[in-house]
């Protein structure tokens, strides 16, 4: 089995050696995996917030959807990926406490931001497991492009 | 022996109060899980005493007290809530509640307050 590389909150990692990129306990956060299946280059971004402010220098590009995804693409290109071949698989953006009356929770904003940014970058989302009220741990295998979504009480889903 | 309506959003709390009051000679005529239901049940059942929580969905306890008092100025309502801040107690009493029991409560305190009202 390829080695596990943990991608912590507000971080992006890319790999070309076979690896399992893992982000634990996605609640409001969204895990965005990008894959170039021809060159077998993959990345996982553990995104925390939707948009950076734009004008201010960003402290950590991996925090925000609009800066993390371009950062992931850059890292993958350095490893030989071609951005026109990239596809995306996304998971997360839950409302963990389902009974609070709140429609504008961060998870929803994150998912919208991720969709918008991927659209801007012309990257198609081929699979997703988002929303709901369940925590998710994702494991992205850069050799096969498979994303496993593990939950505490609802089993494992393969994307 | 009083006819009592218990209003609290926690099933556990309603059970506890029904148990304490029931085994001490009072009759629980109804229960409600939010302020709106509490007002409805009051209209329907006209109990002797109402125990009223404050923090509840839909309509909170203080609003419910105001509504019940407007239906029946003689209504006997006892607040049973953890929210014992000076400002809250004052608001509840001004709205028309007769007394205020702070959670967590002692069984003896609940009985004492209810008996005082009957």
């Amino acid at each position: 089995m390829p080695p596990v590389i943990v991608v912590d909150i507000a971080d992006v990692k890319a790999a070309t050696e076979p690896a399992r990129l893992v982000s634990i306990g996605l609640g409001s956060c969204v895990g965005v995996a990008l894959f170039d299946s021809k060159k077998k280059v993959g990345s996982l971004a553990h995104i925390m917030l939707p948009f950076s402010r734009g004008s201010e220098p960003v402290d950590n590009r991996a925090k925000y959807a609009d800066t993390a995804i371009p950062l992931a693409i850059e890292k993958m290109e350095k490893l030989g990926a071609n951005r026109s071949r990239l596809i995306a698989k996304i998971a997360g953006g839950a409302k963990m406490f389902s009974f609070i009356p709140k429609d504008d929770y961060i998870g929803r904003k994150n998912v919208h931001a991720v969709r918008e940014v991927l659209r801007r970058e012309d990257i198609r989302i081929v699979a997703e497991d988002t929303g709901g009220s369940v925590g998710r741990t994702v494991e992205f295998d850069t050799s096969s492009g498979t994303m496993l979504v593990k939950t505490a009480r609802l089993g494992v889903r393969k994307l | 022996m009083a006819k009592i309506l218990v209003v609290d959003d926690a099933a556990f709390m309603r059970m506890m109060l029904k148990n304490i009051l029931g085994k001490n000679g009072h009759q629980i005529v109804g229960e409600a899980q939010n302020g709106a239901e509490g007002v409805e049940k009051y209209r329907e059942l006209r109990p002797d005493v109402v125990t009223m929580d404050i923090i509840m969905p839909e309509v909170n306890g203080i609003e419910a007290v105001k509504k019940i008092m407007s239906i029946d100025p003689e209504a006997k309502i006892v607040m049973v809530s953890a929210l014992g801040q000076e400002a809250m107690v004052k608001e509840a009493l001004e709205a028309g509640a007769r007394d205020f029991i702070v959670k967590p409560f002692k069984e003896s305190k609940v009985l004492e307050v209810i008996e005082k009202l009957c």
Binding site: I24, L49, F97, G107, G135 | A82, A87, M88
Partner: protein, 207 residues
Amino acid sequence: MARQLILNELEMDMLREVGSIGASHATNSLAEMTGTKVSIEVPALEIRPVEQLISREGGEELVAGVYVELEGDVNGVIVLMLDIASALQLVEQITGMPPAGEELTEMEVSVLQEVGNIMASHFSNALADFLGMKIMPMPPALAVDMAAALLDFIMLEQACKTGDAILFKTRFIFQPRQISGNIFLMPDPESLDRIVTMLREKVGLGA
């Protein structure tokens, strides 16, 4: 965010004291509910980037979290969080009934929510009366899931736009039964400002 969260050592000290008063009242109410002694560790106050707090506080372990939003002079949230084994033991301690199984029953959920409600109320009462404010907790909401996922949600909802969070954290422990958990208070930056202003007035300092 309009204001930078920069507090001097005196202000941090006063805030820690206020947090400690609130947490003590909250855990006292817990002790009364269970009829046992509850001890607390020294409460901590941190103002930090969310990502630093989340990974430190929890991972994949299953926890029960009770979320109580606050409105009024202090806006934010109070959260009671326990590992699932402690949560089940706590319910048993209060009701005298052993756990039904692995999944929480409706009654067990109700008990935990009520515990969260009572603790959050007592926490708020202590702060409100001490500071001369009005703090209104909302009805509690329970979730059982991975600690990291719950913390992620809780902290991001409270963090300001740049992702800094204000966390008052107190760990409590029941000796005989080894039940332990945490109670968190996370006010928003404007509320923290209001609290600091009140505290400064109390000790005779200007704004």
